[in-house]
Amino acid sequence: MHNAQQRPQHALPLNLVEAINRALFQAMSDDHRVVLLGEDIATNGGVFRATEGLKAHFGLRRVMDTPLAENLIAGLSVGMASQGLKPVAEIQFMGFIYAALEQLISHAARLRHRTRGRLSCPLVIRAPFGGGIHAPEHHSESTEALFAHVPGLRVVIPSSPSRAYGLLRAAISCPDPVLFLEPKRLYRLQRLPVDLDDAPLPLDRCFTLRPGEDITLISWGAMIHETLAAADHLAQAGIKAEVIDVATLNPLDRDTLVASVSKTGRAVIVHEAPFTGGFGAEIAATLASDALMQLRAPVTRVTGYDTPMPYFAMEREYMPSVERIVAAAKQQMEY
């Protein structure tokens, strides 16, 4: 696990979007093959300022404003990556990523496979995702499960500034394509210490954020915030909750999840995305098959509803709350 506390002399207080910016800066400094492309990322520094200052430092050849076409951005990235560049493309909001699906599914994810390793596709697509910032229609979706279903495409989601820094650097170093989803509700939520000298984080590992013996709470992205708060509430009631940040949905670190639930016997999975076919279903199925004899209660999922993400007037009612998580956990304890 990332451990800023051990080397406080190198730790800087950064929020999540600043950590992203630092990771991009570091990766571009370390490797001249890393180039950035996307809409509004050069002069404007990105609509969330994730690429602020990078054009000034690295120049327009490495920080490219593209025409407004997401499919093009993904296709350009595939072409560049196939010939040894390491493109890091920004899709402005996840709600606009669908035009890029064909490039990601039919090409990026399978180029190494279908050429038997002759060509590869070391690209990163970054996209802000999730609700909770009162954004307009189509700006708050969480459709990570669509992508986690694609063989060959890593899906990585940070939930803190230090994990954003460590996971993005790992994603850029990765020899295969990575979809890097940034919980935009956390972009400016809080500044936490980030050690810029730390090694990149593993892309195939869950992170246990809080140990506990009674129940396992499993989540990722912005919902980690509510999940940790729920664990605090449960502690007040004497329930010791273990909190796991899945972080990488594909490939999934089943071992950590199964080991935790084998210990606690209970699991609540929390995600913002709709219930049916959400990635929680994959985790629930894994626990049902690999931890069945240790389970003391049916696995519960606390999720968004099976509706489109509502406009922001009702987004609070849609997204899992601390209360819903606590209630689900208590129900499990009483099962």
Binding site: R62, L72, L76, G79, M80, P87, H107, R112, H113, T115
Partner: protein, 352 residues
């Protein structure tokens, strides 16, 4: 020095007197004959259950041969799926082309020591290769390579957003890119007039601010002139070109198609009068650059080469099932490792 006339269909076969590159043209003729022999054999292999669904290149021999001959080693080729001649001329062995159409990914593992080693493999989802070609051209430009990218698609592909997005960025970024459309009149069963109301496909370059050229796709010397010009322009940083090569798909769309359902036999019969190989042979024979004896010898040579390729293809040992897992990631993730064990056990490997 060739200067294209805007949107006039460029032809050369009927005016070869001032085009003294006979050696290049006879070489092109040989290549076209070879690939037609290969194509005929591939269709036969499919009909006899020894190849999967196959996209014939009958009628596209001049276009793909010109591509392969005009490209330099340091250039890049981004094909659609009727470019067997270009792939072959870039160094892909014929047996690997069969392997690809035989359902085996090893057909895309082009030999490392050939110009094809960096080329993209065939692209089945229509026109999706074009933004990738723009990405490769961007890379070539960023790294100051003296290289061009040639990408191909069919007339149906020009209806896709990928096509327009690619031309658009190629114009904005002045990319070293040549997009060549094989306008063979038919996208499976849909004819050109149902794809576009544009005056021509080449006119679509206008909106992107790049040059559009029309060329007779059954005229090898004309194609070579146009591609030499467009690729050279790209290599010298003078921008992208859209080339519309007008041909006729003499085959079915693929071996899974039956074109008699939607097009008239008389139309096909007329198209055969303009097919690229006979036209070039006629010109070469008239100019005393080719004769019947050479023809007989070369046809025998083509049969021998193709028979060898078929033999290599059929004798190639099959892949092991774990290959489908082993090449997806640079290193096998733990979760996939478990599926690999299961698969190997099912296949009877006691060590799995």
């Amino acid at each position: 020095m060739f200067m294209p006339e805007p949107y006039q269909i460029h032809q050369r076969l009927d005016a070869l007197a001032d085009c003294p590159h006979w050696q290049r043209l006879t070489e092109g003729y040989r290549n076209m004959q070879l690939i037609r022999t290969f194509d005929k054999k591939a269709v036969n292999l499919q009909r006899t259950g020894q190849l999967g669904t196959y996209a014939s290149c009958l009628g596209a021999e001049a276009i793909a041969t010109a591509g392969g001959m005009a490209l330099a080693r340091e250039d890049y080729f981004v094909p659609y799926y009727r470019d067997h001649a270009t792939q072959y001329l870039r160094g892909v062995p014929l047996y690997q082309i069969l392997q690809y159409w035989g359902g085996d990914e090893r057909g895309n593992a082009f030999p490392a020591d050939t110009p094809a080693s960096r080329d993209l493999p065939n692209c089945v989802p229509i026109a999706t290769q074009l933004p990738q070609a723009a990405g490769i051209a961007t890379k070539a430009k960023l790294t100051h390579e003296h290289a061009a990218v040639l990408a191909t698609c069919g007339d149906g592909g020009t209806s896709r957003g990928d096509f327009y997005e690619t031309l658009n960025v190629a114009g904005v970024w002045q990319l070293p890119l040549v997009v060549m459309v094989n306008n063979n009149q038919w996208a499976i069963s849909v004819p050109g007039q149902l794809q576009t109301a544009s005056r021509s496909i080449a006119h679509k370059a206008e909106a992107a601010g790049i040059e559009g050229i029309r060329v007779d796709g059954n005229d090898l010397p004309a194609l070579l002139e146009v591609l030499d010009y467009a690729l050279d322009k790209a290599r010298h940083g003078k921008g992208a070109t859209l080339v519309e090569a007008i041909s006729y798909r003499l085959s079915d769309h693929t071996t899974a198609d039956d074109a008699s359902r939607y097009r008239k036999a008389s139309e096909l019969h007329t198209a055969w009068q303009h097919e690229p190989i006979a036209r070039l042979r006629h010109a070469l024979v008239n100019a005393r650059q080719w004769d019947a004896e050479q023809e007989t010898q070369w046809q025998q040579h083509c049969r021998d080469v193709v028979d060898d390729a078929v033999k290599t293809y059929l004798e190639h040992p099959p892949q092991v099932p774990a290959d489908m897992l082993d090449h997806l990631y640079a290193t096998l993730p733990a979760s996939l490792g478990r599926q690999r064990q299961t698969l190997s056990r099912q296949q009877g490997d006691p060590h799995a």
